[in-house]
Structure formats: C-alpha cells, structure tokens
Amino acid sequence: MSTITTDIHWDIPGTYVFDLVLSQQGYAINKMCNSLKSQASRDEFLADSEAYMARYGLTEEQKQAIRDRDWLQLTQLGGNLFFFLKLAATLGYGLYQIGADMRGESYESFMQTRHVPGAV
C-alpha cells in the first residue's frame, strides 16, 4: 500500500503538480481564466485587464506574473496551464512560446529541439 498523506511531495524535477494545495493558492487566477470562454469576456479583459484582474481578487503577485507574461511564475503561484491557456490565447500567446519561456530558452532554440517543428 502506498502511504497516504495530505500534502504529497511529488519530487519530480521541473514539475509543479497541480494538486489541491496549488489549486487553492491559484483559485482566483484559474477562476478568472475560466471566464474567458466567450468573445465578450475576452474583449472585456483586453479593454481593461487591471479592472478584470481586480474583479477576480488576484493577489498583487499574481497580477504581476500576468503583467509580465511570466508563465512559470504563474504556474508556481497556482495557475493551471489548461486554464491560463485561455488567457494566453486572449493575449496572443501560443503553447510553444509559453513552453519555451518556462524552459528558460527562446522560442527558436526550443523549436530546434523538436523532431518536426513545422507541426504547429
């Protein structure tokens, strides 16, 4: 039997397992991102992102990660990729740009590590 703990230490390098601890910490981020599933909401966010973030009660640290487009920081603060991809799409960022940023390298150098970089 595996040991049951309330807060699991996943210990996987370079990985922030989205568990209930991160989910609670990032709840406001993910709730805001979850709202961006209609064009009207996306337009509203783009028109005044500060007001939009304030409405969902993001912390200053969380807001700054979004202003900085710092996807790794956003992940560490509890943002879940599947939710913040909606924010990224609203802002015109794609998955592979986000990934390159999280790896700490340029988009071009990340793409050179792939078998078929044309399959985007």
Partner: protein, 281 residues
C-alpha cells in the same frame, strides 16, 4: 444484445484539431499523422460499423471548473455541444447522444459502486473532439454514430489510480453486456502518450516508453494498472499521466485482444498515437 466491436486508444492534442480545421492534411508536417489514422477510419467505416461510441476523455478546464470538479462524469443526454475553450468553437457539428443507453450505463455503474457525476449538459472540448473527425467522417450537420462522453479527472490531483480506471472499464463491459438491445459499441480511450506541458520540464517526451505502452496495453494491462500515478508522471511526463484513460478502454475489452492497426508520431511535444484493437475471436 449490445457488444463491443472496437477498442481504440488515441491522443487528443489541440494542434491536431487546428491542423484539421485548417485543411493541413497534405502539409508535410501533418500528412503522416492523417495518413496514420486513415486505416483505422476505413476499418471503423467498412467493418466495425459501430452504432455508438463511448469516448473516455478529460475536460481541460472548459466545461467543468475547480469549484466542484468531478472525478468521473458520464453524459446522459441526447445531444452534446462543441465548447469554446478560449479561442472560439471548432467548426464541427454537435453530437447526438443515446440517453437510454447512457442511463443504463449509469444505473449499472452506480450499482457496481462507481459513483459517477451524471450530466444532462456537457460541452465538449479538445479532449473529446480531437479524435472524433480522425476516426469518423462527418457531414456539416452530424456524425455517423451516437456518442456517450465519459470524463475522467486527470488535471487536478488526486486523480484516480490506473487500477481504478481499469476497473471502471471492466464495470463498463459488464454494463454493455447487459443491455438487451442490439447495439454495436466502440470504446475510445484518449490522451497521451508521453508529454509534459508544465514547469521547466516542459517538452519532456519518452518515445521508448510510448512504444512499450502500445505493446503492453495489449498484453500486460494488469501490470500497467499497478503503476503508481507518480511513476507514470516520471516516465511519461506530468500530463502524460493521463494515459490512465486508455486503461478504461482496455478494461472494457476481452482479456485477449488483437491489434488491428497502430500508428505513432512524435513531431513536437507529445507522443501522438492511435491504436485499434478488437476482441480476440
């Protein structure tokens, strides 16, 4: 009596959907992928002729939010919508369900101690949508078969174990076998194979493990069902852990299966695979 006529494992990568919608079937980067699915599509159309597909997938924060995230959910409706997951709806027709068959599955699964969330409305995102047009041709208005969406939480931990997913498949098989009407049922497990979209380990991929998975799911499902969530995420990447949804499909198949077709392609950040199985004669 209902019977299972096909078991399919298939990835559900959003970029495949974009490529499909942008008609990139002959684009050199995408052609291998579409050609790889083609024999499965022909087999499903010419030989299998399923009436309904139970498609096992996960929602990506589209229809379900973290305020009350279901571990397992089953559609029990007569129709399902295409979701807007942040960049507009894909131009695909809505899906026809089979509420009576879904209700039977729900009744059997709950009696079998699988306490599903039961849904009269479910908008479907790429977890569900990606495989559908690769496996079945559709018109502007509809699909050639009915669908039953079965959702598994793989995005917020704790997620169900591999063993639990395998057992859910076995319970599904019992439920399908006990439906009195003639019905040809296909079951599709989606997700994977190896990939990681999270943290500095973004882009991790394990092609050797993927190849083993495609073989072992056929011959050693019991051993795969014993794999821990952490071991799966170490070997297949944090998001690759979603391969447990293939075990729902495998659990619904006979102990002995035959491979009809297999295709694997890892162009970017995911080991993309399709595996078509049938129960051994």
């Amino acid at each position: 009596m209902a019977r299972i006529v096909a078991g399919i494992g298939s990835s559900h990568v959003p970029s495949i959907g974009r490529a499909y919608d942008q008609n990139k079937q002959t684009d050199p980067a995408w052609q291998p992928l579409f050609e790889g699915y083609e024999p499965v599509k022909r087999w499903l159309q010419d030989d299998v002729k399923a009436d309904v597909v139970i498609l096992v997938y996960n929602d990506h924060g589209t229809e379900f939010f973290l305020d009350r995230y279901p571990t397992f959910a089953l559609g029990v409706a007569d129709s399902y919508q295409v979701a807007d997951e942040g960049y507009g709806k894909r131009p695909l027709p809505e899906f026809q369900g089979n509420a009576a068959f879904s209700r039977h599955l729900a009744n059997c699964l709950l009696a079998d101690e699988f306490d599903m969330t039961l849904c009269q409305e479910m908008a479907l995102d790429h977890g569900f949508l990606t495989a559908m047009p690769l496996l079945w041709d559709h018109s502007d208005t509809g699909w050639p078969l009915q669908v039953v969406p079965l959702l598994v939480n793989v995005i917020q931990h704790p997620i169900p174990t591999a063993r639990r997913c395998y057992k859910l498949g076995q319970a599904l098989k019992r439920a399908i076998d006990s439906w009195p009407e003639d019905l040809r049922v296909a079951i599709v497990g989606t997700g994977g194979l190896s990939h990681q979209l999270n943290g500095e380990r973004f882009g991790f991929i394990n092609e050797e493990w993927d190849q083993q998975w495609l073989q072992r799911i056929q011959t050693e499902p019991e051993q795969l069902a014993d794999t821990s969530t952490r071991d799966l995420m170490l070997a297949a990447g944090a998001e690759g852990g979603e391969v447990i949804m293939w075990l729902v499909m495998r659990g619904a198949m006979a102990d002995n299966v035959e491979e009809v077709h297999r295709f694997y392609y890892a162009p970017m950040t995911t080991g993309i695979a399709v595996l078509a199985l049938q129960n051994a004669q």
